[in-house]
């Protein structure tokens, strides 16, 4: 769908209204969507599409995905969470998953940042250096 400048501007304004400080307030976002659907302003479908995209990007930016070859202990999980919160601020959502392909070590992705301390990552780096 081709979005006009005005649509993007209004979608962005709607998104900013839903921010509490630097993080997205989920309740405000739900209320905003409901209000737009109820009032049906001009081009509301396009505005909501763009708003959804901004929310999706924000959610991805504030999501931390921690992959490990073996399950991590509760203590280690807590330490990783506190370290990431210190680095990226509060409001991160954490997801711990297991991935045997990593062979060993941990791979953490927060938004677009990837910290790769896995054996698989090291082997890939070795392959590139050859």
């Amino acid at each position: 769908m081709k979005l006009s400048k005005q649509t993007r501007r209004e979608g962005r304004q709607l998104f900013r209204c839903c921010l509490a400080g630097e993080t997205l307030d989920e309740n405000r976002a739900r209320q905003a969507v409901a209000a737009v659907i109820e009032r049906k302003p001009r081009g509301y479908f396009a505005i909501l599409s763009y708003f959804q995209r901004l929310v999706r990007l924000e959610v991805a930016r504030r999501s931390a995905r921690i992959e490990s070859a073996t399950p991590l202990s509760a203590q280690l999980q807590e330490q990783i969470q506190s370290d990431l919160t210190r680095r990226y601020g509060p409001g991160l959502s954490f997801a711990f998953t297991q991935n045997a392909a990593l062979i060993g070590g941990v791979r953490i992705q927060v938004g677009g940042d990837v910290y790769n301390g896995s054996v698989q990552g090291r082997l890939a780096a070795l392959q590139e250096s050859f």
């Binding site: 677009g112 940042d113 990837v114």
Partner: protein
């Protein structure tokens, strides 16, 4: 086998074992060689992006939620949702003397099948031009070997001189002649072990040209023995707009290496009209706002930042130089179009070639009235200044009188004399392509015509007379020619000697 093991061990030990941090994004949209990527929050402008499988992109648009990147190379294998990584590196090309004699693409990769280029040094394609402190005014000549240029529109090392004209008026030929002339001078200085002469290395950048044209240029340069001093950067018409947009910047980086290392280089951009068109295409697919003739707003900055990188730097900074000869193709002689006026205003002068003159047989078809060199006269050698000082004025007067004389046949003796002299000067300036002339021969020919020693030669015999005179002076009066070349000025003694030589030649000329 033991060496292999040691090498592998060294590679493994050199490998970082710590945690690596990378910034990644995903392709949201791909088409026309342009990708829109979500994520990549750390991407820098003009940073190289790794698409995997050896495909590289260049971040050109940093937007609120995405990055617009142009793909360098084959983009057909890139899929939506594919992972992209930042590299932390700006786009760079190999530089150095290893590139001399080679034909490379916009990224400095070889196209001539002569194997890899052994260069350890790389320069970023986008670089800030030398500042005012580093610069020095132009004072050394670039001997193009084209008499009309060297006499009337002299070019200095570090100057930007535009070559402008319609299609098929000899724009590229002027560039090629200049390269051949430099190769001859470089070789002569090498043979004479003349350390005072600084060789001038040449870079020919073909942008949007037909591959057959590039092959022809290469063949001409090879035949003239100019390739050992020349780099050809080719982004032909079949290359992507991205490569055509990057080619002059890559070529300029190669030239800057010579300048930074106390050497002189000359770069020919053939041509910037096609470069502007390629940049317009890239900008439109990146959805940048378009302006006049659909060119983006920064098309002036595109050319000004490129041409500003041509400079002459001071002794403290190595005394190197990069001379720029951009070429612009006009449509039906319209110099007031958007891109021509932009480049005219950026450069230090222009050589304007006219279709009418070309078809009248005046080749090179330089329009003396519209061509100008704003800084080059400071670089002209004194001997040339002595003989060519009045030529431009004489020619302008001749053109005016010739137009006036068409209306009547009764002319006074002075006007008749001016017309006859003008006709001979025009003839003297005619020169076949790929045949640059040494400066001392130019000086001798101009001195002869200016001092009336060709007045008794019929106009249609002038070229024959000039050719034989040049041959006579080069073979029989080498000492005189050497003196003119060495002294770079015509002293009274030299003038007397030259007069005696020409008079002697005239006695034998039939």
């Amino acid at each position: 086998m033991s060496t292999l093991l040691q090498e592998i061990e060294a590679q493994i030990s050199g490998l970082k074992t710590g945690v690596t941090r990378q910034n990644i994004g995903t392709v949201r949209e791909i088409g026309d060689g342009v990708a829109k990527i979500e994520g990549l929050s750390d991407a820098m402008l003009n940073e190289m992006l790794d698409f995997g499988n050896g495909v590289v992109g260049l971040a050109l648009n940093l937007e609120e939620t995405e990055v617009g990147a142009i793909i360098l190379g084959d983009y057909t294998g890139i899929k939506e949702g594919q992972e992209v990584r930042t590299t932390g590196k700006l786009l760079q090309v190999p530089v150095g003397k290893a590139l001399l004699g080679r034909v490379v693409n916009a990224l400095g990769q070889p196209l001539d099948g002569k194997g890899p280029i052994n260069s350890q040094t790389f320069y970023p394609v986008e670089k800030i031009a030398p500042g005012i402190i580093r610069r020095k005014s132009v004072s050394q000549p670039v001997q193009t070997g084209i008499m009309a240029v060297d006499a009337m529109i002299p070019i200095g090392r570090g100057q930007r001189e535009l070559i402008i004209g319609d299609r098929s008026t000899g724009k590229t030929t002027i560039g090629i002649d200049t390269i051949i002339s430099q190769a001859r001078l470089n070789r002569a200085a090498e043979a004479a072990k003349d350390t005072s002469y600084k060789p001038l290395y040449c870079i020919y950048v073909a942008i949007g040209q037909k591959q057959s044209n590039v092959a022809r240029v290469m063949a001409v340069l090879e035949e003239a023995g100019a390739m050992p001093y020349t780099i050809i950067v080719s982004a032909s018409a079949s290359d992507s707009a991205t490569n055509q947009y990057l080619a002059p910047f890559g070529g300029c980086a190669m030239g800057e290496w010579f300048m930074d290392n106390a050497m002189d280089a000359l770069i020919i951009y053939d041509d910037l009209s096609k470069h502007a068109v390629a940049y317009r295409q890239v900008s439109l697919v990146l959805k940048r706002p378009s302006g006049r003739e659909a060119y983006p707003g920064d098309v002036f900055y595109l050319h000004s930042r490129l041409l500003e990188r041509s400079a002459r730097v001071g002794e403290k900074y190595g005394n190197g130089s990069l001379t720029g000869l951009p070429i612009i193709e006009t449509q039906a002689g319209d110099v007031s179009a958007y891109i021509p006026t932009n480049v005219i205003s950026i450069t230090d002068g222009q050589i304007y070639l006219e279709t009418d003159l070309f078809y009248q047989g005046i080749r090179p078809a330089i329009s003396v009235g519209l061509s100008v060199s704003r800084v080059g006269s400071a670089a002209q050698i004194k001997a040339m200044k002595q003989v060519a000082g009045r030529v431009k004025l004489d020619l302008a007067q001749y053109r005016e009188l010739a137009a006036f004389a068409q209306f009547g046949s009764d002319l006074d003796a002075k006007t008749q004399g001016q017309l006859e002299r003008g006709k001979r000067i025009v003839e003297v300036f005619k020169q076949p392509q790929y045949n640059p002339m040494p400066v001392e021969v130019q000086v001798a020919a101009l001195w002869t015509v200016q001092n009336g020693l060709m007045d008794d030669v019929a106009v249609d015999k002038i070229k024959d007379f000039q050719g034989r005179l040049s041959e006579y002076l080069s073979s029989r009066k080498t000492a005189l020619m050497d003196k003119i070349r060495a002294e770079k000025a015509l002293s009274d003694a030299l003038i007397a000697e030259l007069k005696a030589a020409v008079t002697e030649f005239k006695q034998t000329y039939r």
